[in-house]
């Protein structure tokens, strides 16, 4: 009797062994070959999908970071409408908060399983993914029918999503960073007009402080909000030639404008213009302070009004009291006062995306879809005809400033490789905290550049 039990147990265990021994091979094996093969022969893997797909049910995975209620609802409606028109398509949406998105995306990318459609800012990070064969080249789709899709886009915006001449994504928004300010608080401090020079900005900060108002809201715990301030100073001081020199390695990130930007930033920091605890605050805290009328200005991109609204207590923000002015010119700087630092939002296409996913992205970037976004003020349109119905005066001002910019600088933390972007963010935070001198920060960035920009 007992012998039989032993026998059965042994057989079971051997079976368990066999199964568990098989499992690792099944999971571990495709990991590496897939990643190595994909870039080499993309055509071979694409072809069968294209022929089989239309007859079958297709699921599209879509990750976006538009957490504001109104915006989220617009995306959801577009997905619902598309699914209604294409019953064989099922769209699975994952909404993620900005920082959480970056983390989660990195993880799925490293396991080689990107979502079909996901938020992207183009530039260095996207290039990294494209280089690893994790994205789908959609150049052919853009050029189909004599470039019918391609020609709808503003070329500059589309270019941000191209790497070595091939497009791996498309934009749905392109804007610039500038100062959003609270007109009421400016008036209270006796400031007649928004500042146009760095010196005026410093004077206004002093006036606001004297009136007991927090001049600038800043979420420096997230690092990138403060980094933009430094980047803008570099752009104003050095202009196009300076940054391109450093990027192409004919110059260096220790060149005068990069250091001088740190010095200028220190002038501002010395006035203590930020809310208490700004070093540990998040961008959410920054938007909350602005939305609740607790701070007079913030330096932020075109999405700021929507986020301020969503983060404010009454979900209305500061309404008509909100104003916008471009980053002031810096006296003696080589950059043109009209030069813009900015960027936008777009969708990158994962390597496993089906033709339906690409078709859906096409739908997301139609003029009609753009108008829906414009209507709720969450995007500066990049598609011709998208600007119809653009009524918000601030957005129009911002769009015009952008159109007039002679030189457009994509956000540093997106234009450069991720390792460098991260070093810039960390180093500039060091300037804000007073633990790094402008020279040390510039040196740290240059050290990273030596590694990354070979």
């Amino acid at each position: 009797m007992s012998r039989k039990i032993y026998m059965i147990l042994s057989v079971l265990l051997i079976a368990a062994f066999a199964i568990s021994a098989c499992a690792p091979q099944a999971t571990a094996a495709p990991d590496r070959p897939a990643a190595t093969d994909a870039p080499a022969q993309p055509a071979a893997t694409d072809a069968p999908v294209a022929t089989e797909a239309p007859t079958e049910k297709v699921t599209i995975t879509w990750w976006h970071i538009s957490t504001a209620d109104e915006h989220k609802a617009v995306w959801q409606k577009m997905a619902d409408d598309y699914m209604a028109a294409h019953p064989n398509v099922n769209i699975e949406i994952t909404v993620l908060e900005n920082e959480a998105f970056k983390t989660k995306l990195t993880t799925v990318m490293q396991s080689g399983e990107p979502p079909d459609i996901f938020q992207s800012w183009g530039g260095g990070v996207m290039n990294e993914y494209a280089n690893a064969g994790l994205l789908k080249d959609i150049t052919a789709d853009l050029d189909a029918d004599g470039g019918a899709w391609r020609n709808t886009f503003a070329p500059g915006a589309l270019g941000v999503y191209a790497y070595k001449g091939e497009n791996y994504g498309v934009p749905w928004d392109m804007g610039m960073i500038g100062f959003w300010y609270n007109k009421e608080l400016f008036a209270k401090a006796g400031i007649a007009a928004p500042p146009t020079t760095w010196t005026e900005l410093l004077e206004d900060v002093k006036a606001l402080k004297a009136a007991g108002i927090t001049p600038i809201a800043l979420g420096e715990g997230d690092k990138w909000p403060g980094m933009h301030m430094w980047a803008y100073l570099v752009t104003r001081l050095g202009g196009k030639a300076n940054f391109e020199g450093a990027l192409l390695r004919t110059g260096s990130f220790t060149d005068a404008p990069f250091v001088e930007a740190g010095n200028k930033l220190q002038e501002l920091i010395a006035l203590e213009p930020f809310q208490d605890g700004f070093l540990g605050a998040t961008y959410g805290d920054e938007a909350t302070a602005m939305g609740n009328g607790k701070a007079a200005m913030e330096l932020m991109g075109q999405w700021a009004p929507a986020v301020e609204k969503d983060n404010s207590e009454d979900k209305k923000g500061i309404g008509d009291n909100l104003g916008w002015f471009p980053f002031p010119m810096v006296e003696g700087g080589a950059g043109d006062p009209g030069d813009a630092v900015g960027g936008g939002n777009g969708f990158a296409i994962g390597k496993n995306a089906s033709p339906e996913a690409i078709d859906f992205v096409k739908y997301l970037t139609t003029a009609g879809a753009q108008q829906a976004l414009v209507k709720i003020n969450v995007a500066i349109p990049v598609v011709k005809g998208g600007e119809v119905g653009m009524s918000d005066p601030l957005m129009i001002t911002l769009q015009q400033s952008l159109a007039q910019a002679k030189y457009f600088q994509l956000y540093y933390d997106q234009a450069l490789p991720p390792a460098m972007g991260s070093v810039i963010n960390d180093s500039v935070q060091g300037i804000f905290a007073g633990t790094l001198t402008p020279e040390q920060a510039a040196q740290a960035i240059e050290d990273a550049a030596k590694q990354e920009l070979k």
Binding site: Y6, L9, S10, L13, I14, A16, F17, S20, A21, P24, R32, A35, T36, P39, K102, T103, T106, T107, M109, Q110, G112, E128, Y129, N131, A132, G133, L134, E220, G221, K223, Q275, D276, G277, F278, L279, G280, A281, K294, P417, P418, A419, S422, V423, D426, Q429, G430, A433, T435, L436
Partner: protein, 315 residues
């Protein structure tokens, strides 16, 4: 003490070899262990070797690792000031845990272990933070420590006191580590309290009673009887606490991301930053190897140091 003579017998049984009966026993033991061993090898041992392999490369985490750099990553890590800050913070958290968190837990365990009225209620309350997920605990503390007195609970109370100003608990490089440690203590003291409670329950009442009859006061009773008899529990607690401190990640990452300017960096957040934010997985793997070695050395050293078998000190 009665269990002592039984031990040599067990050893003898183990040594007896050769009989078919024992061979079959061993085979069965082996077969039963097999699934666990396979899983262990697969999910613990294999990744360790994989990390060692990747730590020798300059690798971004996508595709195969090709840029072999030898021990370059390891050299750069110990030269990096931020890693040294992370290391220092790790040891600071260990010190604070051992000298603040554990004594506090022990004190509470003694309190709620006695015939205190409502002790079951307090036990439950004290243990509750441990049941919460780390993410929720971190978010809660983010709210509690908010620098704006209108939003942060602690600052709201502080400004009611005369002459006290609101503090940027997580935005000030001097106090951020203490703030994080407060959250850590709040989260884990209940767990250690529970360990101590179990330890206390294993101490026979008679021993303490005998002490009392012999004229020992409460403090003497505690320091000369209770504490020595708790030694094995304390050893476990210290061990868990040290390893937990060295690997602390979730709470720190959510509350401060290791900031501001690395003031609350731990080895785990440092590793994560390189592996998943900067896309330098080779470098991150090398950090992981350092963490592994530090934990391993501590474990071996600690076990040697406290090798005295439990049955000689405990009852």
């Amino acid at each position: 003490m009665q269990s002592l003579p039984a031990i040599p017998n067990i050893l003898k049984l183990k040594k007896g070899t050769g009989s078919p009966r024992n061979f079959r026993d061993n085979l069965i033991i082996f077969l039963f262990l097999l699934p666990a061993i396979i899983l262990f090898l697969l999910f613990v041992v294999y990744p360790i070797f994989q990390s060692i392999y990747y730590s020798l490369f300059n690798w971004k985490g996508f595709g195969p690792a090709v840029d072999f750099v030898g021990l370059e990553n390891f050299k750069n890590i110990i030269k990096d000031k931020v890693f040294l800050i992370a290391l220092r913070n790790g040891f600071l958290i260990i010190a604070l845990s051992l000298f603040v968190q554990l004594p506090l837990s022990l004190m509470l365990a003694v309190l709620v272990g006695r015939d205190l009225p409502g002790r079951v209620f307090f036990r439950m309350i004290f243990f509750m933070p441990y049941v919460l997920s780390e993410v929720i605990a971190a978010l809660m503390w983010l709210f509690i420590l908010n620098p704006d007195p209108e939003r942060g609970f602690i600052n709201a109370i502080l400004i009611l006191l005369p002459g006290v100003k609101a503090q940027a608990w997580l935005g000030n490089t001097d106090i951020v580590l203490i703030s994080v440690f407060a959250a850590l203590t709040w989260k884990y003291f209940g767990y250690h309290m529970l360990l101590f409670l179990t330890g206390l329950q294993n101490i026979p009442q008679e021993v303490e009673e005998a002490g009392r009859i012999d004229g020992a006061n409460t403090f003497q009773n505690f320091f000369y009887i209770t504490l020595p008899l708790l030694a094995s529990t304390i050893r476990t607690s210290v061990y868990i606490s040290v390893l937990g401190s060295l690997q602390q990640f979730i709470l720190v990452w959510i509350m401060t991301k290791g900031g501001p300017v690395n003031a609350s960096e731990t080895m785990a957040t440092y590793m994560y930053r390189f592996g998943f934010v900067r896309f330098q997985l080779g470098y991150g793997s090398a950090v992981a190897i350092y963490m592994f070695l530090i934990c391993l050395v501590f474990s071996l050293f600690y076990q040697r140091l406290t090798r005295q078998p439990d049955y000689l000190t405990g009852i």
